[in-house]
């Protein structure tokens, strides 16, 4: 019954957002956003025991460790955005109508993502993910402008096409399955698929995986299908960018990971790993070099998301160690990046631009935000004492241990380049003379307090990996059948 607690609150909040006036709606929203988090924690406890939570008997919904990890991230980011969403800051000039629209749609967005990770049926999962596209596409032009409309149009067209391809893959896999077992019920359930996987045709499943990887990869922002991502993230309202960057990409990766299990089970692991490695390397490389000459800090954050997605994707291909690292990295990244985006939003509202050239002296104009933002970015740069340091090290170690020293070397170099360029941009933002015409001080300092939570989380993850989490991740690795 836990799923009710997990899935219903967002819908309720969405309705509340539509029905109630803005202020109470915000309150309700925040409160309701905490419920799924609680539910996710309960799932966590169960997952630690190693028993997937299933409901109903037909196993329509199923949450194992992997789903739980994702659910945790989604719930966390959902709560974060509920707090920092439009109407939070004093100076984000959103109209009540826009706020209402955002509250409703963002909650539906959360709902679809949560659904995607807890449904047991690949078809339904596909439906959910497609739904995420539609909902988020509606949210991007919250503030109507040429740029936002263009961004969302690109987003929806590219992602719809990609997602459609993913469906082709699903169908192919299903077709192969039906050929073997005949059209029996629940044929598209993980459990069933995995069980039957070893008998599937290698060629067909490979074909299917190609479609799936390209399809869901589009959504995950893997190169060269990432092209929509910088535009969408840069033009969307910051809280939405936080959700997309922090969790949507993760959900897409989750889909890929799920299918990778099937492919592995079908004995095509080598092929899958090769494909993932290639595309992951390409992604990291392109993201890194796009960071060098970046002009806008939101695009910078977007490309850094692409880079981290690429790293995670690499991790998936690097054996148990790699998968562990990838999952850890995924968690770290969704915490850090969502925080960074939310704060970037505050900066944008203060400076009315996202251009580096016109955003300087941040430490002087809005010290608290600047400090938190810097912390978030330092974390994203993979510096200790923050979590991504550990997970990146684990990734390199995995890459090395699984006999890819050269790939590891290349990634290391790329990471350094990304590091230097992001660092440069960050320094430019924080220091220097404040841009003229920008007011100083932070009227709503108290608003920022919750930011301490993600920072604390990152610190803990960087200093000591709590056994409860490492246990969960270990279970998550087990899900991959190892």
């Amino acid at each position: 019954m836990i799923f009710l607690w997990l899935l219903s609150p967002p819908l309720a909040a969405a309705l509340a957002g539509l029905a109630l006036p803005v202020r109470p709606a915000r309150l309700v929203n925040v409160v309701l956003a905490l419920v799924p988090a609680g539910a996710a924690v309960v799932l966590w406890q169960r997952a630690l025991a190693g028993v997937p939570t299933v409901w109903p008997a037909g196993a329509f919904l199923r949450a194992d460790a992997l789903s739980t990890i994702l659910a945790l991230c989604i719930a966390f980011v959902g709560a974060l955005v509920a707090w920092f969403g439009p109407g939070a800051g004093r100076e984000d000039g959103y109209q009540p109508a826009q706020i209402r629209r955002f509250t409703a749609l963002s909650n539906v967005f959360t709902f679809t993502m949560l659904g995607a990770v807890v449904v047991n049926n690949v078809g339904v999962m596909w439906v959910a993910i497609e739904a995420t596209t539609i909902v988020s596409a509606l949210l991007i032009p919250l503030v109507m402008s040429k740029a936002s409309v263009e961004a969302s149009w690109k987003y929806i067209v590219i992602c719809s096409v990609g997602i459609a391809l993913a469906f082709v893959g699903t169908v192919l896999a299903y077709f192969d399955f039906v050929n073997l077992a005949g059209p029996l019920g629940g044929a598209l359930n993980w459990t069933v698929l995995l069980a039957a996987a070893p008998r599937l045709h290698a060629d067909v499943i490979r074909l299917a995986f190609v479609f799936l990887l390209i399809g869901y990869g589009t959504k995950a922002g893997l190169s060269p299908m990432h092209t929509w991502l910088p535009d969408a993230h840069a033009e969307a309202p910051a809280p939405l960018s936080a959700m997309m960057s922090g969790t949507l990409l993760a959900v897409a990766l989750y889909a890929i990971a799920r299918w990778k299990m099937v492919v592995d089970a079908a004995g095509q692991e080598a092929f899958a790993n090769g494909l993932l490695l290639t595309i992951g390397l390409l992604t990291v490389a392109i993201a890194t070099f796009s960071l060098v000459l970046q002009r806008s800090f939101k695009r910078m954050l977007a490309y850094s998301s692409i880079e981290h997605t690429g790293l995670t994707c690499l991790g998936l291909a690097l054996g148990p160690l790699g998968i562990f690292a990838a999952l850890l990295h995924l968690v770290n990244h969704s915490v850090a990046k969502s925080t960074a985006f939310v704060l970037a939003g505050r900066v944008q509202h203060r400076y009315h631009t996202t251009e580096f050239t016109r955003v300087t002296g941040l430490l002087a104009t809005m010290p608290q935000t600047a400090a938190a933002f810097a912390a978030g970015l330092v974390a994203l740069l993979g510096l200790p004492p923050f979590g991504l340091f550990v997970s990146e090290l684990a990734l390199f170690r995995a890459g090395f241990a699984t006999g890819h020293p050269w790939a590891t070397g290349v990634v290391l170099t790329l990471v350094v380049i990304a590091f230097v360029s992001i660092l440069g941009h960050l320094a430019g933002m924080l220091y220097g003379p404040p841009s003229e015409g920008v007011s100083h001080g932070e009227p709503d300092r108290w608003m920022l307090l919750p930011v301490l939570i993600p920072v604390a989380i990152l610190l803990v993850l960087g200093l000591s990996l709590p056994s409860s989490l490492s246990g969960l991740l270990a279970r998550g690795v087990e899900v991959f059948g190892r």
């Binding site: 049926n121 078809g123 339904v124 596909w126 439906v127 497609e130 739904a131 596209t133 539609i134 596409a137 509606l138 032009p141 109507m144 402008s145 040429k146 740029a147 409309v149 263009e150 961004a151 969302s152 149009w153 690109k154 929806i156 067209v157 719809s160 096409v161 459609a164 469906f167 082709v168 699903t170 169908v171 192919l172 299903y174 077709f175 192969d176 039906v178 050929n179 059209p183 019920g185 044929a187 598209l188 045709h201 060629d203 067909v204 074909l207 910088p230 535009d231 840069a234 033009e235 796009s290 000459l293 970046q294 002009r295 695009r299």
Partner: protein
């Protein structure tokens, strides 16, 4: 059916596209019903009905309305002959790719699988090579037709719940795209996607 997909490649008006799409959907529905008859699978009848209702009746109406509203001249990147030739190559490619599927399948309908894939590729071609936002929408719809066809031919359709979900999504997606088409038209005073290239690094 693939022919119906090829039609737009040398036709130049949105109306033609829309009509081609309608016919396509109609045949798709028919095929589905046929397979349903052969396989005696009740679900497939429902699917056929859905197809008929959605893609033959509703969507074409909306398309037509939009078309009337925006007028319809289409500037392709590729001229007709090149497009058709490319399409031909793509279909060949589809056959190559589908080879393992043919080997794997025992269904009587398997002969159509490559065609379905071909349809998918061709719709991709349409989406890539046509400038107008509207045509991209239609291309996308054709893509979905192709997938549905694949599903029907290859596996007698996916489970109903998924099927319904897919249709919902298709409809929603279409509606959303329609909304954006309107928005684009009012913000850019044109449907030429060429206009949509301001965002870059």
């Amino acid at each position: 059916m693939l022919l119906l997909a090829l039609i737009p490649l040398w036709r130049h008006t949105v109306r033609a596209y829309a009509r081609a799409f309608t016919w396509q959907s109609l045949t798709l529905a028919g095929l589905t019903a046929l397979t349903a008859y052969f396989s005696g699978d009740a679900e497939l009848y429902a699917v056929a009905a859905l197809l008929l209702g959605l893609k033959v009746v509703v969507i074409p109406r909306l398309l037509a309305r939009m078309d009337r509203r925006f007028g319809s001249e289409i500037q392709p990147y590729l001229n007709a002959t090149t497009s058709v030739l490319t399409a031909g190559v793509l279909v060949l490619f589809a056959y190559i790719v589908a080879e393992p599927l043919l080997l794997a399948s025992r269904l009587p309908t398997r002969g159509g699988i490559p065609l379905a894939l071909g349809l998918i590729f061709v719709s991709l071609l349409i989406i890539v090579s046509r400038k107008r936002a509207l045509t991209q929408v239609i291309g996308f719809l054709m893509l979905e037709n192709g997938i549905a066809l694949l599903a029907v031919l290859a596996a007698y359709g996916v489970p109903l719940v998924v099927e319904i979900g897919v249709f919902m999504d298709a409809l929603m997606g279409f509606l959303v795209m329609q909304i954006f088409v309107y928005q684009i038209h009012e913000t850019f005073e044109s449907l030429d996607v060429e206009q949509l290239s301001r965002l870059k690094d």
